[in-house]
C-alpha cells in the first residue's frame, strides 16, 4: 500500500516536472525562430473562429439566467434596478473568464489532446523529428499561442453576449428600463474589472493550451491511450482553470484595485 502511494507520488511529480519543462521550452520557442506561420494562422482560426458559437451561446444563456436569478434576489431589497450592475460585474470579473475557459477546455483542450495523442501513438511525432522538424515548434507553439491569445478575445465576446442577454431579460421580465440597465452596467464597472477580465483569460488560455498539448504528446497505448488522454486533458484543464482562477483573483485584486 505504502509502495503504491510512493509510486503514485513519484508519477505525479514526474508529470508536473515534464509539464513545467514543456512550458519552459514553449516559452523559449515563442521568442526564437523558426516560426510556422501557416500552422499558427490555422490554429488561430480553429481555436478562435471555431469556438465563437459555443462561447457566444454560453455567454448569452449565462447572462440571461443571471439576470433572472439576481432580479428576484435584488427585489427583496428593493434594488431591482441594480441588475445591470450585478450582471456586468459578475460576468466581466469572474463568470466570463471562467466559463469561457471551461468551454475552451472542453472543446479545444480535448481536441489538442486527441489530435496530438493520435499522432504520438501512430509514430507521426517521431516521423516529424526524423524529418528534421521540431514537434514543439510545429505543433505545440501554434496551439498554445492561439489558445492564449484567443481566450481573452472570446471572453470579451462571451461578456458582450451575456450583458446583452441580461438587458433583454431586464426589459422583458423584470421591467427595468433600457437606460437604467445600461447606466448600471457602466456604473458597476471599474477599470480594474476590465483588466481582471482580460488578464485572467490569458493565463487560463495558456493553461488549457499547455495541458492539452502535454497530455496529447504523452499519450501511449493505441486508441485507448488517445481516449484516456482526451478525458485527462478535459478533466485536468477544467480543474486547473477553477483552481488557477481562485489563486489569481486575490492576486489581481491586490494589484489592480
Amino acid at each position: 500500500m505504502l509502495k503504491q502511494v510512493e509510486q503514485w507520488v513519484k508519477a505525479a511529480l514526474l508529470e508536473v516536472q515534464e509539464y513545467v519543462q514543456l512550458v519552459g521550452r514553449v516559452s523559449g520557442a515563442v521568442v526564437t525562430r523558426p516560426y510556422y506561420y501557416r500552422d499558427i494562422v490555422l490554429q488561430f482560426e480553429a481555436i478562435g473562429v471555431g469556438s465563437l458559437v459555443v462561447v457566444s451561446l454560453t455567454g448569452f444563456f449565462t447572462g440571461a439566467a443571471l439576470a433572472l436569478q439576481t432580479g428576484q434576489t435584488l427585489d427583496r431589497f428593493g434594488a431591482r434596478t441594480l441588475v445591470g450592475q450585478l450582471v456586468s460585474a459578475s460576468m466581466i470579473r469572474e463568470l466570463g473568464p471562467v466559463l469561457t475557459a471551461l468551454m475552451l477546455a472542453g472543446r479545444v483542450g480535448s481536441g489538442m489532446a486527441a489530435e496530438l495523442g493520435s499522432m504520438a501513438v501512430t509514430d507521426q511525432i517521431n516521423a516529424l523529428r526524423a524529418l528534421g522538424t521540431d514537434p514543439l515548434r510545429k505543433l505545440v507553439v501554434p496551439r498554445v499561442l492561439a489558445s492564449t491569445v484567443m481566450a481573452p478575445v472570446l471572453t470579451v465576446i462571451a461578456d458582450t453576449f451575456a450583458i446583452t442577454a441580461g438587458w433583454i431579460i431586464s426589459v422583458t421580465n423584470l421591467g427595468v428600463s433600457t437606460s437604467t440597465y445600461w447606466t448600471q452596467v457602466q456604473e458597476g464597472l471599474y477599470l480594474g474589472d476590465a483588466w481582471q477580465g482580460l488578464i485572467k483569460p490569458v493565463v487560463l488560455g495558456l493553461v488549457i493550451g499547455t495541458v492539452g498539448c502535454h497530455v496529447g504528446l504523452s499519450a501511449r497505448g493505441g486508441t485507448q491511450g488517445v481516449g484516456r488522454a482526451t478525458t485527462n486533458a478535459v478533466v485536468v484543464a477544467s480543474v486547473l482553470v477553477i483552481a488557477v482562477d481562485f489563486f489569481l483573483t486575490p492576486l489581481l485584486m491586490r494589484v489592480l484595485y
Partner: protein, 280 residues
Amino acid sequence: MAFATARSPELEEALGPGSPIVVFDRVSLAFDDNVVLRDISFTLIKGHTKIFLGASGSGKSTILKLIVGLLRPDSGVIWVNGERVDNRTEADLMKIRTDLGMVFQEGALFDSLTVAENVGYKLLEEGAPDGEVWRRVDEVLGFIGLSEFIDRMPAELSGGQRRRVAIARAMSYKPRILLYDEATTGLDPITADTVDNEIIKLRDLEEISSIIVTHQLRDAFRIATHEAVHDDNGLRIVPADAAKAREAEFIMLKDGGIHFEGHAEELRDSRDPYLRSFLS
C-alpha cells in the same frame, strides 16, 4: 534544392566506398529495470545492408530510433555518417537527420496532408522552390509506381501503398542511409515483394545504405539475395551473385544481445537451436 548535407572533401573521401557509415560501439539501453540492448556493437559499410531479426520486443526498432537520435543510449557510442549522435542536442541532431531517412511501422504518414505533401514535406520545410519540390515528388512517386495517387489522402490508401509512400517520403531528399522498421509486416506476399523491390532498387541504383528491421524472414532473404540491375532489358530484380549477397548481413537479437551475426548462407546453414526455431 537542399538535399543531403554537404561535407568536406576529406570527410567525403574518408566515407568513400568500403568505409563504415553507421557504427555502434558497446551500446546499452534500459527502460527502468527492463534491459533492451546490452553491449551492442556492429558496423554498417557504405552501400551495404544490415538486416536485424528477432522476436517482438528484442530491441530491433530501438536500434533504429538510436541511430536517428529519437532515443539516447545509457552507455556506448554511436557514429552516423562520420558524426557522433549519442551525445548531441536535438538541434544538432536535426542537421544529422538530413542524411537519414526512416520508414516507420505502418508508415506514420501525416493524416492531414495529401500523398504529395507527405512526400515533399521535408523539401517544403527546407524552403525549396515549389516547382522543384513537385518535380521531385513526381519523380519519386514514379520510381515507386504510385504517381496516380499523388492527390489522395493517406486514409484512402491500402497498407502496402502507405508503406510505399512512406519509402517515397524517406527517399525524397536523397538521404545516404535509409532505415526500414517492419516495412513489410502485415502485408500480403505480393505487396511485400513490391516493397522489397523498392528497397533493393534504392540500395542498388541509388547507392543508399540500408538497415532493415523485420521478423519477416521471407522478405529479409529476398532483399539479401537479390539485386536490381538496369540494362538494355530495362530495370529488373534478379538473384544476386555471391559477392553482392555478402554485402547484406543478418544480425539476430536475443535478450538484448547479438545472438548471431553473418550472411544469408551462414544463417541458413546454422545449427543453433534458437536460429533453427526462428527459421522453421
